[in-house]
Homo-oligomer: 340 residues x 4
Amino acid sequence: MIIVTKPDATEEQIQHILDRIKEWGLKAEVSRGAVRTVIGVIGPEDQIRERPIAAIPGVESATPVLKPYKLVAREFRGGNVGEVKVGDVAIGGREVVLMSGPCSVENREQLVGIAKAIKSAGAKILRGGAFKPRTSPYAFQGLGEEGLRLLAEARAATGLPVITEIMDTKHLEIIEQYADCLQVGARNMQNFSLLKEVGRSKLPVMLKRGMSATIKDLLMSAEYILNEGNFNVLLCERGIRTFETYTRNTLDLNAVPVLKAETHLPIVVDPTHGIGLRQHVLPMALAAVAAGADAIMVEVHNSPEFAKSDGEQALLPDEYADLVQRTRKVAEAVGRSLGK
Amino acid sequence: MIIVTKPDATEEQIQHILDRIKEWGLKAEVSRGAVRTVIGVIGPEDQIRERPIAAIPGVESATPVLKPYKLVAREFRGGNVGEVKVGDVAIGGREVVLMSGPCSVENREQLVGIAKAIKSAGAKILRGGAFKPRTSPYAFQGLGEEGLRLLAEARAATGLPVITEIMDTKHLEIIEQYADCLQVGARNMQNFSLLKEVGRSKLPVMLKRGMSATIKDLLMSAEYILNEGNFNVLLCERGIRTFETYTRNTLDLNAVPVLKAETHLPIVVDPTHGIGLRQHVLPMALAAVAAGADAIMVEVHNSPEFAKSDGEQALLPDEYADLVQRTRKVAEAVGRSLGK
Amino acid sequence: MIIVTKPDATEEQIQHILDRIKEWGLKAEVSRGAVRTVIGVIGPEDQIRERPIAAIPGVESATPVLKPYKLVAREFRGGNVGEVKVGDVAIGGREVVLMSGPCSVENREQLVGIAKAIKSAGAKILRGGAFKPRTSPYAFQGLGEEGLRLLAEARAATGLPVITEIMDTKHLEIIEQYADCLQVGARNMQNFSLLKEVGRSKLPVMLKRGMSATIKDLLMSAEYILNEGNFNVLLCERGIRTFETYTRNTLDLNAVPVLKAETHLPIVVDPTHGIGLRQHVLPMALAAVAAGADAIMVEVHNSPEFAKSDGEQALLPDEYADLVQRTRKVAEAVGRSLGK
Amino acid sequence: MIIVTKPDATEEQIQHILDRIKEWGLKAEVSRGAVRTVIGVIGPEDQIRERPIAAIPGVESATPVLKPYKLVAREFRGGNVGEVKVGDVAIGGREVVLMSGPCSVENREQLVGIAKAIKSAGAKILRGGAFKPRTSPYAFQGLGEEGLRLLAEARAATGLPVITEIMDTKHLEIIEQYADCLQVGARNMQNFSLLKEVGRSKLPVMLKRGMSATIKDLLMSAEYILNEGNFNVLLCERGIRTFETYTRNTLDLNAVPVLKAETHLPIVVDPTHGIGLRQHVLPMALAAVAAGADAIMVEVHNSPEFAKSDGEQALLPDEYADLVQRTRKVAEAVGRSLGK
């Protein structure tokens, strides 16, 4: 922690700051400049990070030196990327993993049909929403447990492990019965009760970045999950909210290399929500792989104009198969593969 | 709903759009321009708002004409502002209501001391967090039920009704035993499970605007609560996230007149979180009243440098008393009052 | 300047950093932590601010301690606010100054009519655009020199000094012949050639904040003008660009108290462009005064639906007279006045 | 144009709207709903786009149907991408063009050395700033004409055509004597005087997207240049300003496919400024090519820690050579090439 005093800080104020540092059991190194005094606080920064140092009279700013996250930090695993397994599919290795499926589970025919189509195209994991977070209370809210049952059926029919969203701590037990991976949505990225709860689950968790979450916020939310003992966490970039209105969100691919440098957790990119326009999902998927993503999640629907949610951005199965072929080439160009 | 076709939409595509509109039991009026065709859809828009019309081949855009919210709309109450009662304090009338208290409930002396101080300064409602949403899992997470008990004690000692945050659907029952008003925080503004749950409570709810929530998003989240039967909802502007880094957030006072035009729900402004800098809370509180806020929430702490959360932005009791005096003058200048 | 090294910085890298600091003629104080080394650089920070210290191998971050602006800083005038005179109207004192007029100068009847109306309502300065920055090349681009002549006529008819926008260094001479104050628009806030040119003018300059300019950026742009010798600069908050789409811009009133703390330059607020919706200009003007603005600029048009630019946000003369009356009360409530 | 009336619009107001439309020589089609009336305006929309229709009493909203740009629209060239030539290097064809060079021209040895290095690595165009837009007036402002002369020398030494920034209409003549392509920087994207001036130049122009410019704003600014007769325009995505602070800017690769769909102008991506962190330029360059960029601009410096501007984000020549090799593979994976 580096404390900088105000220009008009008095000698008494500076002494009071030094006394507080001593109280905390830490050591201070003082550099007096012409205008301001700089105090370096030596010792375990965690003890003081949450203290309101800027509220001490005479303090102008207090800047941490160390990062606020520990368990998610790349150094925690000695600089290596960890692998997270969803069913028996490993994410975070040389292979770029494809996840796909409809936005919402709607009925058996829809789901099993799409699951078979994406599997034959090359997808390794099936996604589908049973509990749906919708901006409007009047929109389709998902099939609930019935949707979970259909996901398990689609898994039985295809062998694809299943990821689905959890919206409420009360649903953990029932979702754990059916799914292979929990998804925490962007709107719940800072629902800390939910983060703690999924941190106690045996299932892996895919945590989506909130619409106005900084990269640091995302890592701090992941830290909540790891801190409860669950280290099987995937981070998902899915677009942030900016001033641009042409696209639904602004897919922030800058987050991919930054996250890879900061954390050992594998990175998923969701170009479907990220750009939100069906005709532009393909180039963003290719760009995500080129930027270093470990997995790509793309929504597919067999009949977008009848979809109960997000039909505007879903690809048709044929378009998806084409995307997979092109993604394969880019993956190979950056030294990775798409598996069989 | 107004549908605009792509320049190259075929006659078959246009006919297919018209067929779909007919299927929905609605009426279409078609205007053919030189380049694009415009189709006005006449009839109850709610039936089609959630349909993926932009996914129909040949459609370039589909723009709703009516607003997506009903119960929160100002027209729903015939253009009048509703009053919401917290304990016996009415919010939404001529009187501007002052809410105050510490960020977190820390202990009896702290809470009761602050409660007495703010009451004597003019505050009408006591705030204090028992369950705390914190970015870091290593930060103080609140006293939980013990904090609720202390809030009830402070109410007994001062007569001030109490507002506190709910973070988890599982906590509703216990909070209802102690509090007079539920607060849903910015990070949970789109936690739809929580919104539905507080929508079934007997207590009023103060819903804080999410950091990247548009005004429309905020109203849609409130609609969730009203749709469950709870019409006692306050909306709180508390700062949005922008590119500016000097201030903690950007308090968006533009939202005050816009919300007053759009909804009958009373508007609270929280300048403390909004600007996040203790020395600038006062002018933003005055500006909020001038802009038309129905209530102002300001954090106060008796010893900010020892606060367990947000000490950097809390006012001292004396500073708060000064703020109340100045706020009173501005309230009167805009034709309102601060009560006794 | 505080330099923090990377965790894996070698002894040679640290020594190289210290050698560079010595080359610059500055002094280093080194604090070695368990993981990172912190180096405080003592001496005149200006010499090193622009050096690419973060490009030195082994450096993780380099954080300035002092502010990057000098001439605009409040300390430069010993903590006092300066007064800037436009014609004989002083801005920055106890009186809140009202500026008003149409967006564009359109013709003599329009301009003189509006000028008389706003003067009788209480305005002290007339605004009007002769050179207009328009997003579209097909939109009205202003009357040019003819517009300047009409502004001078309106000044002769009313006695109001005149402010108008400069868009090109080539126009300085001609505008200086007619106007009393130069306006640099939001889109040119970082047109550094223009800033230097107006810095050499005898006229005062009102510098509008760019749509994505931080408060620091705004101050640095003002520093360009003062650095050329022109200290008569007004800063104008006119709305920033955020994700919110209901309002045209997000008027950032937080900037008012922050700027007042940072600089001696007077602060103007433009609620018309800031919120961009005619029906909400009034409450934002009141809020701006409550927040501490030194002047308020509001657009008025005698026939908005026929205006050649920005008719959607202009007030009618009667609405403006009402705004002035209400503004007066708020100004008095915060210890200021509106003059006669 | 589609006009929607307010719920309480009177019959007189609606008639007045219809009268105005008739005055403009256009045709109205009226659909009366239960609450609002929708009026479709048929005819050449350009005539009414700039009229303040929302200022007509009774109007709630007025939404254009057609796009506001014509010359830059993809349809203007029958759906084809145009090629723009810088010297004899064509941009916009199958080949992805590499531009590179230092941020600022500093001296002969630096510039010629870098030019030779990037040429041998595979770059086709040399960049370098002679007039530098700097946030601080105290930062290095560029060598001016001396810098232009050095650029011409580097061209003579390597055969690479040269692009350099223009900041002031007064400098056009001198820059035209030395350069092969003009760059309009992000901070001048809406400096409309400058846009008109470069629109009259014989040289091609690379227009960088402003930090808070929407894609539509960028296209409208390009329209200014084409409207003056200069159709040789390149659009450059270089990062937008968002709430994220880890990266210097947020490189918005979403803009690449969107711009390719909207315009015939070739698209350049500048990952150096876009992410602003040297260690992450490579993955963003690869992603840009995968997303469909026609050219990539990357800054290179032979000694970043001594650079006079932006040393923190410049690559070393060796790092650049590696980037070119990797970029080549991704270009081929998406069906393009990097030339010889």
